[in-house]
Symmetry: C2
């Protein structure tokens, strides 16, 4: 590729990114494409149209993961590059979507390059014969807002959740995943074995921006324990029931939110960090003059260190016992999801670093606090995870931003890295 | 009335109460008749059918208050007896509804007695010539769950809220009070001047049951400050945003709920009581992996003593300032409603006590922690407020219960008291 071609490729990527961002667009400059909704279906159709125009074949598996296959070597095994096109409500347009589109464009660029080499029009360089085919994957329901848990599609693909269980999961209106996937026509029976997995994603944090780096090489995920709690009290009249007679579920749940933050503050030290969060908190019956009978809330505890995570988790549960007594409520522990802190493939990080060096892109090692589809995939196949910078780390917010130059640098690296992986530099065919 | 007649009246009241309780009935033995809903409209129609069968005329005023007029003396001024037929979601069947039905039955009994006296069939007693007519009133939207604030109908009637403002109020789906009233056909232009007001209600507390009393004579309301707060944070990804970068509206709002309870605990002493509550608490966007950008919550502070109320309120606001700093949020103070602790008419309490003594009913003096329509009416006309016992004080709950014998004792007293008031023993015609 010479500069002119590269610029044409860059303009094509940015044009496609702008086009994609109009699907499910929100007034505030973001997108709302919750999994299995009409907007998610429209985004999937848009993506299908794009890649089919470039010679990919599109298939859906039993949990609605969307596979765009680019065959370079008939019969060869597949390397997958993926992320997700679904979003949070009122989300930014980069989270997940950037990685899927970058994967498609990396495939398009590589396919063009290999065709040019086959025609001998690459100025006489030796052809780098590909040993793998490419599958660009849009994993279903990474966000987990409409249907829980998050990373559902990659969890089913990697065998961590049975497909039947995921398909039977319902949203707050009682619609199942199976019904939602059928309604948008993206429920299939395709299966695929993959040999390795690559993902590029916006950092959703500030470290690359703070350090002035173009690329983050993800070293490990944090460990995380995610809990669904139900705080049970007794419904009563706020204007008539004395404090001594109350069993206020809202008070108990509020105390739990405050306690979770105190645990994070207490267990974070110079060496290790603990982060606790509560993003969903629903009060019943939620009427102005009624003492709440019940609050459903999700709490998660994350840490870079497994021992610190265990200690923080134990402290949180001790505090819950205290809250049950002091607020006169019962705290029920429902479903939970945990994942241990785990490292990405070291050889993959080295290959990514070498690819970045070859392109003159600055890079550094980062950890991902958030879960990604690669969190699941790395337990199945050798996996490489890359980050590009997020302005001010703002994410899950319509103001989320990754600059064009940073998106293009990431795409250049993903293309280079995919070329090397497809040539057999990461895993053997 | 002899015993046989009295029993027939009692049976009729209990049959009507059971019939009324089927309107908007819930599976758990309660009712759901939120103001202006179809179920509220059905209850109003049911009530209209009942009282028209007994010779009342029914009218609606500009805010949908339902007036059932029983003319005893053509052209005479009116005494109002009232409460409310609307309910909380999943509420008990006694709150408000008992008082409206008891008012209607007191009117029916008095009307029959006066007819009997006019025919000389009362065994030769001197006729007690009535000097007032009777208006039984079902005040619109006492509960304030669908449309805020509570006690809306009586607030408009007493001039505390402009009718236009109340009519323009919308529910969470954007439906206005005006639209809701028109949809159920109970928006009118009737007006009425009243000379005095009587209300009977379930206690919604335990004091009568604990003291073994049949009747509570309400001495005063508690003072109350009710606030609508909006806690503003910044939407972010729970799985990617470091604690230092968060402005978590849910954490701030939870800390406010906990602080409100601590204020109640701290300011309650042997002499005075402070009660704080939060019954409505709504999180945006309320997604599992999103740091909340906003929480809307209602907090109220009540006390039997105005100075204690002022001190507790000041402490709550000092704590809010602390929370803004520690949780990195901004707490906006929206609409507020306050009412001072205020006494009911002393002569009215004495007349009610004498009436109870005449019937051999045990009674004691109570305060009402909850607001009632009489809280508004007592600022307009001389007002008498009566309570009957609530089992275990359970209320705003499907398990709310007032026993038949207690309902009937209250109805006997309301009938006796209304007879005396209509005869001119409370206010001059």
């Amino acid at each position: 590729m010479n500069d002119t071609t590269s610029s044409a490729y860059d303009r094509a990527f940015l044009a496609d990114f702008r086009s994609m961002s109009t699907v499910g667009a929100t007034a505030g400059g973001g997108v709302d494409r919750q999994a299995g909704t009409v907007a998610d279906g429209q985004t999937r159709s848009w993506f299908r149209g794009l890649v089919e125009g470039h010679g990919f074949e599109v298939h859906y598996d039993e949990i609605g993961n969307q596979f765009a296959l680019l065959e370079l070597v008939p019969g060869a095994p597949y390397i997958a590059i993926g992320s997700h096109l679904d979003s949070q409500p009122l989300a930014g347009r980069f989270d997940g979507a950037y990685g899927v589109l970058a994967g498609a464009h990396a495939g398009i660029r590589l396919g063009d390059r290999l065709s040019a080499e086959a025609r001998g029009s690459n100025g006489g360089e030796a052809p780098s014969a590909p040993k793998f085919n490419i599958a660009v994957v849009n994993w279903f329901n990474e966000e987990g807002c409409r249907f829980k848990p998050s990373m559902m599609g990659s969890s089913v693909f990697t065998g961590k959740i049975p497909a039947e269980q995921a398909l039977a999961t319902t949203d707050p209106h009682g619609v199942s995943v199976r019904e939602a996937l059928r309604a948008i026509g993206t429920h299939g029976d395709f299966t695929l074995d993959i040999a390795a997995y690559l993902e590029i994603h916006i950092e959703q944090g500030r470290s690359l921006e703070n350090d002035g780096l173009a690329i983050g090489l993800v070293e490990s995920t944090w460990g995380a324990n995610k809990y669904e709690f139900v705080v049970h009290g007794e419904q009563a009249h706020t204007g008539a029931t004395l404090i001594a007679d109350r069993a206020d579920a809202l008070l108990g749940a509020s105390a739990l939110v405050v306690a979770a933050r105190e645990v994070a503050d207490r267990f974070t030290d110079d060496e290790h960090m603990v982060i606790t969060s509560c993003g969903e908190f629903t009060v019943f019956p939620n009427s102005p003059v009624v003492v709440a009978s019940r609050v459903n809330l999700l709490v998660d505890v994350r840490s870079t260190d497994p021992d610190v995570l265990a200690a923080a988790d134990a402290e949180l549960h001790r505090r819950i016992g205290e809250i049950e007594r002091s607020a006169n409520v019962r705290v029920e522990r429902g479903a939970e999801h945990t994942w241990a802190s785990k490292a990405y493939d070291e050889a993959g990080m080295a290959l990514a670093a070498a690819s970045a060096d070859a392109l003159g892109l600055s890079h550094g090692i980062v950890r991902t606090l958030a879960g990604h589809d690669s969190t699941n995939l790395k337990d199945l196949v050798p996996t490489i995870m890359l980050f590009v910078p997020s302005v001010e780390g703002i994410t899950h917010n319509e103001r989320e931003l990754t600059r064009d130059a940073d998106m293009l640098a990431g795409l250049d690296l993903l293309t280079e890295l995919t070329g090397r992986v497809v040539a057999g530099d990461f895993v053997a065919p």
